[in-house]
């Protein structure tokens, strides 16, 4: 599963156009926010998926809505890793970089491998744009790009020519230039045009001029590659051998939205999704708001407190109550989550983590809310905490979160992050009839002595310590719940000291009981050995790749990945103790690390990166080698 790079050496310097087969390629489209790079990247991803590659993507937006054109702050990028084998990351280093303007070149060049292909829109390297990007000399002229395979293409000019026959304003004409660039890259990597042509036809069906222009641009870019001998070679990345089935591309936020709707349907519950917009969680709201036909009730609340209150209110009424936010919003929701713990109502709280503390880096990724999810509430206040490991995994985790919330009458946290939320990968569409069922029971008669004369006991528990979920509207089960300590069994307000301790223990034990019903922790690699690399959340793919590389080098290293952070799988301590060393890579300053050390007393060490972006495979690989 190594990624081979087309280095300068690998490209035979002849004028015959040759096709070279590659195992995997990482390409990044970048340009100004107005240049349509997200679109180009998405199209490229779709086509690559359709031709059978495995894919993984990483978009990178500017923080501003519309930063001034041409500035460094305005650069938007989209990275695609596509390959002929199973991949788990969007790639460390770029094999090819498309830079639509000087600012894009400046901010992205450092990620291009030595000798990598650099496709440059030379028309954009005007004095003014160079200046905006902070270049004092023109990199196209000062020899500073000599370590790369530079393809200077006057994209503006060529594109304008291509669309000239269509009646468009110059500005409209220029808007097509992402398709020209895309067309050229399609040629470079032997991608078919048809899927994108189809997309253009559908998207612009109401605007024939733009339809025509974009079509022309795309083809012109392709033909330019074919005709002009810019490069003596183009590349082919064969199909990956992936599990047969029907696939689609999915981002983490999409998978969460779809997962929640699916879970609601499996449980036969209405989904009430209440949320206050916040980057990078808002898209879940946007997705779900489109799904009215699926019976989804979305509420845009006045703030995060209201949103979680609404979700809990819906849960009290028997619905699937869900809320999502990012870190600052979790702060605000924490008091109400405590109420859900006390009243033992099922509610799912999604935290799409971003760079912190405070407002931090809203558009960047991080994993620094784990301890907040665990402990960010007053009193002893345990909740279940799960974390998806990849975009597609969000679907499964959504289902599992709902299942556990209902089964254990408990709030469940889902810790996603900006990387998972916006990144995409292929998703094997599940067969509906193979999906797990989610059972829910609501009592319809008092549980006292079986007769109506003993009132309903809302805190009488089953063997798993779970209390009944009696719904308002059910005759004879009238009862009151609330945030004051409850008397065991009756649920009446109780100030009794011993009862309080009992209830604190019961709440903890109930959450601990979840461990009895979740899979044990498995490892990828030898069941014991020199090093265990254990992580959680979005670092999965990168860690796996790094560990596999180290394994191929002969190291006795294994990977474990925690989907369940509270409670952890019951064999976690055993697994940890089977390796001489334990490494915990996290995009924070060592949060899981503290939990593992404190809980299992293993001298684990952390690999910590807090830069608002994911690990590179090489970073983890290096650390592994350094430890062995």
């Amino acid at each position: 599963m190594t990624v081979s790079h087309p280095t300068v050496e690998a490209i035979p310097r002849t004028h015959d156009v040759e096709v070279k087969e590659l195992d995997a390629v990482t390409i990044r489209f970048c340009g100004d926010s107005g240049d349509g790079m997200q679109l180009a990247g998405t199209q490229f991803t779709n086509v690559s998926a359709i031709v059978g590659n495995d894919i993984s993507t990483l978009p990178d937006f500017p923080a501003e809505i519309r930063a001034p054109a041409g500035t460094l702050a305005g650069v938007s990028g989209f990275q695609v890793h596509f390959s002929s084998h199973d991949i788990h990351t969007p790639g460390d280093q770029l094999n090819t970089l498309v830079a639509m303007n000087p600012a894009a070149l400046k901010t992205n060049l450092k990620d291009l491998e030595p000798g990598g292909i650099l496709i440059i829109n030379s028309d954009a390297f005007t004095t003014s744009d160079l200046h905006k990007a902070g270049y004092t000399s023109n990199p196209l002229e000062d020899n500073s790009l000599k370590g790369y395979r530079v393809l200077r293409i006057p994209i503006n000019t060529l594109n304008r020519e291509a669309v000239a026959p269509v009646k468009l304003s110059p500005r409209e004409a220029d808007r097509c230039k992402n398709f020209f660039a895309l067309g050229f890259v399609y040629w470079l990597y032997e991608r078919p045009l048809e899927p994108t042509l189809r997309w253009i036809r559908e998207k612009f069906s109401k605007n024939p001029a733009v339809l025509e222009a974009n079509t022309r641009s795309l083809k012109a870019g392709y033909n330019y590659g074919e005709t002009v001998e810019t490069l003596p070679v183009h590349y082919r990345v064969p199909k990956a051998h992936i599990k047969p089935g029907k696939y689609r591309k999915i981002t983490g936020n999409e998978a969460l939205a779809i997962g929640l709707v699916t879970a609601a349907s499996l449980a036969n519950k209405p989904l009430v999704y209440a949320s206050y917009p916040i980057t990078p969680a808002s898209d879940i709201l946007h997705q779900l708001a489109e799904l009215k036909r699926f019976g989804v009730r979305t509420i845009q609340a006045e703030d995060e407190i209201a949103a979680v209150g609404m979700a809990i209110g819906a849960a009290f009424g028997g619905a699937l109550g869900v809320t999502a936010t990012s870190g600052p919003g979790i702060c605000l929701k924490s008091e109400a989550i405590g109420l859900a713990v006390m009243t033992e109502l099922p509610v799912v709280i999604i935290d799409v983590q971003r760079g912190g503390p405070s407002t931090g880096l809203p558009t960047k990724t991080e994993q620094a809310d784990l301890l907040q999810a665990m402990f960010g509430r007053n009193g002893e206040c345990p909740a279940v905490v799960l974390a998806p490991r990849s975009p597609a995994d969000c679907f499964d985790v959504a289902l599992e979160a709902v299942r556990l919330a209902f089964r254990f009458m408990t709030p469940v946290f889902v810790l996603s992050d900006g990387y998972i939320a916006n990144g995409a990968e292929p998703w094997l569409i599940p067969q509906i009839d193979r999906l797990p069922s989610i059972a829910v029971h609501h009592p319809s008669s008092p549980n006292g002595n079986g007769h109506g004369d003993v009132p309903f006991l809302p805190y009488k528990r089953d063997e798993r310590l779970v209390r009944p979920w009696a719904l308002p509207g059910t005759p004879g089960l009238e009862h009151r719940i609330g945030g004051l300590e409850k008397e065991d069994i009756t649920g009446n307000v109780s100030y009794d000291p011993i009862n309080h301790e009992r209830m604190v223990r019961i709440r903890a034990q109930k959450v601990a009981n979840v461990a009895k019903e979740i899979p044990e922790l498995t490892v990828e690699g030898p069941p014991e050995g020199d090093l265990l690399v254990i992580g959680w959340g979005g670092t999965y793919g990168t860690t796996l790749t790094a560990v596999q590389r180290a394994q191929r080098k002969g190291y006795k290293v294994a990977q474990a990945h925690l989907r369940y952070l509270n409670p952890m799988p019951r064999n976690t301590g055993d697994v940890l103790r089977r390796y001489k060393k334990v490494l915990v890579p996290e995009l924070n300053s060592g949060q899981l690390l503290l939990l593992l050390r404190g809980t299992y007393l293993v001298d684990a060490v952390g690999l910590n990166k807090v830069q608002g972006r994911p690990f590179l495979v090489s970073e983890i690989e290096q650390k592994i080698e350094q430890m062995l």
Binding site: F294, I312, G473, H479
Partner: protein
Amino acid sequence: MSTATSLPTLTAKDLASDQEVRWCPGCGDYSILAQMKKALASLGIPREKFVFISGIGCSSRFPYYMNTYGFHTIHGRAPTFATGLKACRPDLSVWVITGDGDGLSIGGNHLIHAIRRNVDIKIILFNNEIYGLTKGQYSPTSRTGTRTKSSPLGSIENPLRPLSLAIGAEATFVARTVDVDINHLTETLRRAAFHRGSAFVEIYQNCKIFNDGVFDYATDKSIKADNTLYLEHGKPLIFGKDRNKGIRLNGLEPEVVTLGSGITVDDLLIHDERAEEPSLAYLLSRMVYPRFPECMGVFRAVQRPTYDELLNKQIDEAIAKKGRGKLEELFASDDTWVVE
């Protein structure tokens, strides 16, 4: 909210829970509890359809004492829980119980947003102009100068007038009543129950322990007739022990006039709770003792679509238009491809 017809009729007693009521002896909350049970029993709605949701405060203990479904939530947030509940359970009759601290201090934002959305919930604010449960600090409705534990030299804040605020927040139903006027209280709660949409009711409530007597001017039998004005739709604004005083409009300013000596009932302002624009209701909400009698009754009651109705309507319409969504469809909502 469905109202069942052929049910065994409820009595107020059926609505009493088995929990010991723990307010201070003499607290105005007792009367509100009693009248609430009376009012609800008269509605023809089965007991299990009622839900009481409260925040935190003396008043917010209310749900424990009602033999209905109840949720004693956290401070200031009750309207949010109620909104979430009503959004998925339009069949329930949802009541929010709050206090002047709970509803107007920490909870002011949720209150105004529930009101503007016109969620079909009944919000009953027990205004005792004090924080009772935390043992006597001033509240956002305490009058300037009020001396309390947290304002030993007198409060320096301007009080909010709950009804003015609600009207400023697009309320469709606002009313005021007082704990000891039991018939008016019962009737006002019934009016709130019948309103489709957010109904906001302010109840003057005496806190025996920390603010005893602040509403004496409006409750003391010997003077209350001169200090309060009971609103009736379509009727002129008359008040006073001898029913010989009224409110006349002078430009946009209300003024107190005495009937006789040239001034007749025809000169008086006529109450119109159904006015489309809330200017009258607003103006009435500004009348404050001692300059004016304070108005009791329904200030405003207009029909607007409710939030929960509209929410469900969008769903129904979407389904009617394109059919109920199927998971297969959802999964395939982006381009798909098949690997063989």
